[in-house]
Amino acid sequence: MRSSSGDVPAISKPVLGASWLDPCWNPSGASSSGGRSLPQTGPGVLPPSLSRFPAAAGFSCFGATSSGGMAADPFDALMTEQKKGRWLGVEPGQAELGGGGHERGASSTSGAENSSSKRSNEDAAMDRTPGDPQISVETKNRQKSSTVKPSGKQSKDFSEDYVHVRARHGQATNSHSLAERVRREKISQRMKLLQELVPGCSKVTGKALMLDEIINYVQSLQQQVEFLSMKLATVDPRLDMNIEALLSEDLLRSHGGSSSAVGFSPRVVDPQLHLSQRGLVQTGMFGDLNTANSFRRAIDSQLSSYKRRMTQMPISCDEELQNVMQMATFCSNDFNNREFGDRS
């Protein structure tokens, strides 16, 4: 039927016939090697082959109906996928406009707003294609080729829209199996990432056991959140004061740069004066963060709490320091990482 399906190791497909899907998509980039085999149909038509794919729930945003006359043809999947490859690769701004127009219009008809909004919020570092294996491999964009390269396959991209993937020696050159292999490598990459995140997963081998570990870990984390939130509900009422103290200290330290203990002692000595001074300065700085009101509230409560304390027995400053030190250790990792550009 189609001469290019599986006959040659290096597959290249032009972007054909997708203009009816996206009115603002520029068809000038389409090269015309091989004729158009897709009959021109109205924009409301979704090929039934796509509707079978679970990830194609996102495609249904282009139109929920499917025409019975269209043959189940992977080329249709290729075509729509290439259009998306175009979005992902080259013109994110235009893609969002075009994609957003379609998706907003039809998102009420489909429940897959997950994937559609995912498409418009494209993260260039991650390949966000729906990743169905049936969808042809040459639609992957340049980011894709960079992840394919270390696997040993030779891949070069002549244009921004699609990559040419060369099959390894002695392996099937079918477009489907190539896509499968690419997908499997993506999955194994992500499993390795997860293995590092989940403690105790490095000893475990095999996808099934690792998945079990991951599931247990996520469950235990969620249970911990629930347990800790119950605990926080019943903990000491003095916590409120300390929280306000933490809030003000956090912001002061984050924009002060270094966290030194020297800054704490004057606070204990003359809290009202220092906090009000610094609070006013910080309030002006953080207008964009929407923290002005909360900061004023924090300052007020801080002042009132200090006034209350002055009348009672003076509490040792160790508590405050301990408190703030704990927050410092939690946040200092973040500072160090951000300074050196690491991931926190």
Partner: protein, 147 residues
């Protein structure tokens, strides 16, 4: 809870570096103090549930809108707030198919393919562990005061 969710509208300034611990701490502490101030001390479970929702909300806001799971969390929280329904417990049994179990655990996992699910799980785990670390730190500092 609507006031809490609408109060913070600043996006994540460092999406590439991953979720920011400082912003998470700030958001959560603010929400925590708000909850403690507004709910009566007698209704402990009600408070606990609200704090848990605050934890997930601050997690989701810190992660940013670029993550599918954070959008799903916020969507779920906003819908619950509107309909005034109590959030059902997310009990997940490890079904025969592990991928399905993972989908049930990770918010927004039902609508994505396996590859994206793994990616979202990784980010979700990162944010969850940060949140747990933060909450544990607060509890520790609170209990260190002692009677």
């Amino acid at each position: 809870m609507d006031s809490k969710s609408s109060a913070c509208s600043s996006p994540n300034p460092n999406p590439t570096l991953g979720p920011s611990k400082l912003m998470l701490a700030f958001r959560f502490l603010r929400a925590l103090s708000l909850v403690r101030r507004t709910t009566p001390a007698s209704s402990r479970t009600c408070r606990g549930r609200r704090i848990e929702r605050a934890a997930y909300a601050s997690m989701a806001y810190s992660a940013g809108a670029s993550r599918a799971w954070s959008r799903a969390v916020l969507r779920r929280l906003h819908h619950r707030a509107r309909r005034r329904a109590v959030a059902p417990r997310r009990l997940s049994t490890t079904a025969g198919n592990r991928a399905e179990a993972l989908r049930r655990l990770v918010p927004g996992g039902a609508g994505m393919d396996y590859c994206t699910l793994l990616e979202e799980t990784a980010d979700y785990i990162k944010c969850l562990s940060m949140q747990v670390e933060l909450m544990q730190g607060i509890v520790d500092s609170a209990s260190s005061y002692g009677p």
